[in-house]
Symmetry: D2
């Protein structure tokens, strides 16, 4: 694995649906499905968010971690955290959702730029070793997506070294060992 | 036809997608499909608004008038006209949409209460004589909806009397004669 | 109405789902939805036959008469009446279905040729006066189809003349007056 | 792995879509998706066969082997090999399909009884070691199905012993080594 494929860290201004922040480093050892959306994006509402709910249900008893990222890059005046909270309530979204950190100089928020998302919906699948396994723009076929997540979950959990363990704690919060979730 | 079935007038604080206001009285002689929605209502976004677009396309060459009514009765802080404008842009809605007049004392806006809508999505079909032909809560079957509109359009255009013509002008704006649209 | 648009008569070798034969002449005064299918036609099975079931349900209390026509023009060795009977049982089709009369010299059966059907699924809507109101190849939009049937049902029932009445009786069977169904 | 979970052998009277017969033993080392259907089964036609086509497309470059089994247990007079051939042509099915061997004394064909299929559609997923990994009656969620196949493909290919190799050749035909397809 080259460092070039390592998933960049999240930059989030506000977390919803969770009492604690999440980080890529803190989830090392788990598989992560990170999906990027905007609440006024028709394809997100009609297709990718329902798919996320199916993923949550089907992998509920695995150590897959689903994380949503609200990557507002247009209509900033409309897609505020206040509106996002009402949206989450009406659409009954349950997994943790981070508001991508606005960039003072660009319409594109910070994490979206780091990951190179071309628009919404986008998603990345991150393996137990922190590498990006797949990067998608648009909605993918359910069977192909299921197969990728299944293969990622089948990978062995990497042995933790003391140093890695240290990195596993972020902002005073440490990830549970893989397999404990 | 009893007066009890006459469609009540609209009370709208702001019109979008149209340079001029619309009124039920001003449309006398035409068939009206009035649909009520909220931008954060999942059933509206997933089902009733796509159905409205199908209606607009299929009856484009008839004198059916489609009118949307944004009847916000919850999450008032989130579903503001600013957000509605972005929503209309993203979802490419093209027929006239009125913001239902807020009621200072109740969460239910004025027109919604007049029509007795129980929630969103709701719709009413109004005949050429101004009578309510059908009242629906939820999304209806396309074939049944098409049949009702087809039957309403097949009804003869009522002869206008001078008085009725006078009523056809509202707020300084007069509706085109039925059949001219 | 020109005679050129009059619906041609059916030529059926076997009727299923009905104890008595049907004819276009015998249904004068009613609206007829005649749909043509083959049991091994994927578009018929996936789309047009489910649409026919919706039509049957929605217009159950009107005098619309739905008639199916099994117009086999390929795989004649496979789509026999024996297989059609099992198909009707498994797919729970309930309206009368006629087996289109095979033509000894052509693959195209007799009624299919008379109507000029280009393939399956096809359908025609026949008005109360026996005229073809609409001719479709492929599956149509539900709203448009509902509107056409609604408009056809809204047409006045033509006054019967003694001669027309006589034509209304076919093979010893007379159609009920329109509106009685 | 207990012998109880080993996939039973196929008993097929006729193969379609393939010049050579297939066997479970001859595919040892590969993952097998075996799906059971009847051509007049509405759920098979509407849901499971389209899902099979998606599986074929998505796993085209893996060593997953898809096999269809026509398990006729009703309407035997209608669902003959002649009709099945026309069905395969119209529905453009491309993976190998075996006609399950009729049982002279029971309506249930031989392989269907061996596998304990309760009806159609049914399917089993068979691992590289010949064990049944999953048994389904009805159509499953695409994501869950994709995950199971992905995990099965991620399993290591078992080392072949000379004896196992011998069993790998059936009817004079030997399976290619896993990974070669």
């Amino acid at each position: 694995m080259s460092d070039l494929t390592l998933a960049p860290e999240l930059s989030v201004s506000q977390w919803l649906n969770t009492p604690r922040p999440f980080s890529i480093a803190g989830l090392r050892g788990k598989v992560i499905f990170l999906h990027s959306f905007q609440l006024l994006c028709p394809g997100c509402v009609a297709e990718s968010l329902p798919q996320v709910r199916r993923i949550e249900r089907i992998f509920a008893n695995t150590d897959l971690q689903v994380i949503g990222l609200h990557t507002v890059f247009e209509h900033h005046e409309a897609m505020t955290p206040t509106v996002l909270k009402a949206f989450i309530h009406e659409y009954r979204l349950t997994s943790p959702i981070g508001v991508d950190q606005a960039d003072g100089q660009s319409d594109i928020p910070v994490t979206m730029r780091r990951y190179g998302f071309r628009g919404t919906p986008s998603s990345v699948l991150i393996g137990r070793d922190g590498a990006i396994l797949h990067h998608a723009f648009g909605v993918e076929d359910d069977i192909a997506l299921g197969a990728r997540i299944g293969m990622a979950l089948a990978a062995p959990v990497p042995a933790a070294t003391p140093d890695e363990n240290a990195e596993g704690c972020v902002a005073g919060i440490c990830a549970a060992p893989a397999g404990a979730a």
